[in-house]
């Protein structure tokens, strides 16, 4: 039964060295820095256009962003098999066309922005004010609001400012409530009212820059012009003046975002990813679009998949943390990798919300479960009942927190429900058999592991390394294999066997 150990150590060594060499190669050749932050930030945004073609000629027009304050366009590209592509620069439009297409079609457009503080906005001429035709009783309501605003403003911008203040703070004002029946979208309503007052304004669209997001919608903003080319942007959601810091304007004119001729059911969604690279490497990567095998990098995938991998590639870090805490420390957790999944949920919810949400759900679940255990149900039925209870608890918490105005509470839906149900079931059995103390030990151990895994997985440095250097995965694997071979004591054993050492303290061994 005794195998030679050297091939195993050799394997660990090979994995480690390969990982290291791959990382160093990538660092040297592509100038990807080992540390985040010492570089320029680029944002890649990918628009995914989906529609169903009518089995005839198809023409698609997609609005595309231009350089703007704080962001400069670095490069743009599109992926669309069989389609002709034209970048129409004066209109900021991308045009795809094909003679014949049938069935579901997916087209990609990708643009890279460099975060550049020196970049200034390009001024744009105000659009012509379209005539606003409002029927009664909306006309009277709009007129009343107009009179009210005119008396407390000096010019177009201050008029707009007061309007947004009214829209965001006095939701239930009678006139507004009436007008909201006519136009429910706040941005469009604001533009309508501004146009009604003779002020040039239009709805523009922006993308919220959040690293690793997929299938994001556009955020509508309102641009208001004063005399000439002077314009100001308002966020209808908050009523704040000026472009929000984390937004990138996608479309600055009042035109449709997406036009599809010869197709139906069209929609567009966005994936966003953040890179920390030197300019040289950003340009070089652009030149190497036909990626060679040697530059084995996640960056060759479409952005949506990249965003997914950003999370997947963090899982080995979580696994390593679990290994360390169990093998080196001896921490007891409920379910081996449950803490990693909880940590993933924490990434979505933020730590404090996550901890509070998790504790509340598990605690309420345990109360419900203690009732279920009186019913003498079969195991599978009981766990299914617990799953439904968990869903009910999550729904209840979401509703409650929304009612009292805590939008944070809505994030409890990010918790993996099946895992939570099993956790509740196991803890409940543990409670009945070993008492509350053991529940606290294992529950606390799981939460502690989850928090440590969360801290590691949100660490900027670790995120940078795992995403930019695939070689790091091999190094992690080598570390986990090496840990699997550790025969030393666990930290908790040093306390457990303490009495043994004390017994011998007086005697000579």
């Amino acid at each position: 039964m005794q195998y030679a150990r050297w091939p195993f150590y050799a394997l660990i060594g090979v994995l480690f060295v390969t990982g290291l060499v791959m990382s160093i190669y990538r660092h040297l050749t592509f100038q990807v820095p080992f540390l985040p932050g010492e570089t320029l930030t680029t944002w890649s945004i990918e628009a995914r256009v989906e529609f169903t073609a009518d089995n005839g000629p198809v023409k698609i027009k997609l609005a595309r962003p231009s350089s703007q304050q704080g962001y400069a366009v670095l490069s743009e590209s599109s992926a669309s098999s069989g389609y002709g592509v034209a970048y129409l620069d004066n209109e900021n439009i991308l045009e795809w066309s094909i003679r014949q297409a049938q069935g579901e079609q997916t087209l990609f457009y990708r643009v890279d922005f460099l975060h550049d503080q020196l970049q200034n906005d390009i001024e744009s001429t105000p659009p012509a004010i379209p005539p606003v035709s409002l029927a009664e009783p909306y006309l009277t309501a709009a007129e009343q609001i107009n009179q009210q605003l005119l008396s407390i403003s000096a010019d177009s911008i201050s008029y707009a400012q007061q309007l947004f203040q009214l829209l965001t703070t006095q939701q239930n004002q009678q006139n507004l409530a009436l007008l909201r029946d006519e136009e429910s979208e706040p941005a469009k309503l604001a533009v309508k009212l501004l146009n009604h007052a003779g002020i040039a304004a239009s709805v523009i669209h922006a993308v919220k820059l959040e690293d690793g997001r997929r299938r994001q919608p556009l955020v509508p903003l309102v641009k208001v012009w004063q005399s000439g080319q002077n314009s100001v942007i308002f966020d209808p959601a908050t009523g704040k003046r000026g472009k929000p810091q984390d937004m990138l304007l996608w479309q600055q004119q009042d035109m449709p975002m997406l036009e599809v001729m010869g197709g139906f059911d069209s929609k567009v969604s966005f994936s966003i990813i953040k890179h920390q690279e030197t300019i040289a490497s950003a340009i070089k990567a652009q030149q190497n679009v036909q990626q060679s095998l040697v530059n084995f990098s996640i960056h060759s995938l479409p952005l949506e998949e990249q965003a997914l991998f950003k999370t997947i590639l963090l899982l080995p870090v979580g696994a390593l943390i679990v290994c360390m805490l169990r093998i080196l420390v001896g921490l007891r957790t409920s379910g081996t990798f449950m803490p990693v999944l909880i940590a993933l949920a924490f990434i979505q919810t933020s730590l404090v919300t996550g901890l509070v949400g998790f504790t509340l759900i598990v605690f309420t679940g345990l109360l419900l479960r203690s009732y279920l255990s009186h019913l003498n149900l079969l195991l599978v039925a009981r766990i299914s009942a617990v799953i439904i209870s968990v869903i009910a608890i999550i729904t209840l918490f979401s509703l409650l927190s929304y009612q009292i105005g805590l939008s944070e509470g809505l994030k409890v839906t990010f918790f993996p429900m099946i895992i939570l149900s099993w956790t509740i079931e196991r803890m409940s059995v543990l409670w009945e058999e070993e008492g509350a103390k053991e529940v606290v030990i294992q529950g606390g151990g799981s939460l502690l592991t989850a928090v440590i895994a969360y801290l590691a997985m949100t660490n900027e440095f670790i995120r940078h390394l795992t995403f930019n250097f695939l070689g790091v995965q091999l190094i992690l694997l080598a570390a986990i294999l090496a840990l699997g071979n550790y025969t030393g004591y666990r930290l908790f054993e040093l306390a457990r066997f303490k009495s043994l050492v004390e017994r011998y303290a007086g005697k000579s061994v």
């Binding site: 001896g330 058999e433 071979n485 025969t487 054993e493 040093l494 303490k498 009495s499 043994l500």
Partner: protein
């Protein structure tokens, strides 16, 4: 709060990681685990051998059998319901007395038949088995344990755990249930562990919750006076389990029945490490010594070897 790991190593204390890699993974073949993880398999294996086990009253394999559980239970005397593939003493229900229509637990509390049926259906659904696999329930005759030890135990059967390494008994302890452990014999739940001298079955040293104790916390009996009779027979019984199972690193749990003598309660392929605390010494030097033995010996020869080599008094 913590001790120096090098001091622990110099005392030859075996840690969990080392146990798993150097002993369990190396000497216990994976395919042999079911023999000990499944108590029914263990019983079948030891059938018609000179290793005696508690009498099997019934096995419950299907949910339908639970409905007429009453007919399966003995009309008088005590019995134990346990999962065939349970671990760590989970899911074991001890009924001291069938006091129709209710059933008395050792602590005096009474259960009705619905409680027993619910317990059985939990066992069948796999609540107590490793990995939640569907399981079978076993009903065994309650051991009529030797009154010799009744003063040393509170509401439970005191059992003797012997670690067998390659067929040699290397360390032994007696586990005494207490009020804190709720009549169970698991050390981490608060049972008292009494280390036994391999040479003669005499108590060496006792611990509860990892701390030395001199008297049983509930019965106030002096623990150092404890001595197991017929010690060599008991060791031989345990040593024979090696030939039967082929598992190199094994924990045997033995109880002393007043009529049938030593009975093998269960075998464990992953025996715990608390036995070192109860004995006040480490396992490693003993395991290393056994690893050096080249000679093939019979069970009784191995017992005699161990008694000579590991005597502490």
């Amino acid at each position: 709060m913590l001790v120096n790991p090098f001091k622990l190593a110099s005392l030859g204390i075996l840690g969990m990681n080392e146990r798993n890699i150097k002993y369990i993974a190396r000497y216990n073949e994976r395919k042999l685990y079911p023999l000990v993880d499944n108590k029914l398999a263990t019983k079948r294996l030891l059938e018609n051998s000179d290793i005696h086990v508690p009498e099997l009253i019934a096995t419950i394999e299907h949910q339908s059998q639970i409905n007429n559980l009453m007919t399966l239970l003995p009309s008088t005397g005590g019995f134990v319901i346990k999962p065939a593939q349970g671990s760590g003493g989970k899911g074991i229900l001890v009924i001291q007395n069938n006091a129709n229509p209710n059933f008395a637990k050792p602590n005096g509390s009474e259960l009705n038949i619905e409680h027993l049926q619910h317990h059985c259906s939990n066992i069948l659904a796999g609540l107590y088995s490793l990995g939640g696999k569907v399981d079978k329930a076993i009903i065994e005759r309650l051991i009529n344990f030797d009154q010799l030890f009744s003063d040393y135990s509170y509401e439970g059967v005191p059992d003797i755990r012997i670690i067998i390494f390659k067929g040699y008994p290397v360390m032994a302890m007696m586990r005494l249930s207490t009020e804190a452990s709720d009549g169970k014999a698991n050390l981490h739940q608060g049972a008292v562990g009494v280390g036994l001298d391999i040479a003669n079955g005499q108590a060496l040293h006792a611990v509860q919750f990892g701390k030395p104790v001199e008297y049983h916390p509930d019965t106030q009996q002096k623990l150092s006076e404890l001595k197991v009779p017929n010690w060599t027979d008991m060791l031989e019984l345990a040593a024979k389990c090696y030939e039967k199972t082929q598992l190199g690193y094994l924990g045997a749990d033995i109880v002393l029945d007043v009529e049938k003598g030593p009975l093998l309660l269960e075998l464990n392929a992953r025996p715990g490490l608390s036995i070192q605390i109860a004995n006040g010494c480490g396992l490693k030097p003993r395991l290393k010594m056994i690893e050096k033995q080249q000679q093939t010996r019979t069970a009784i020869e191995r017992v005699l070897f161990s008694q000579q080599a590991f005597s502490l008094l």
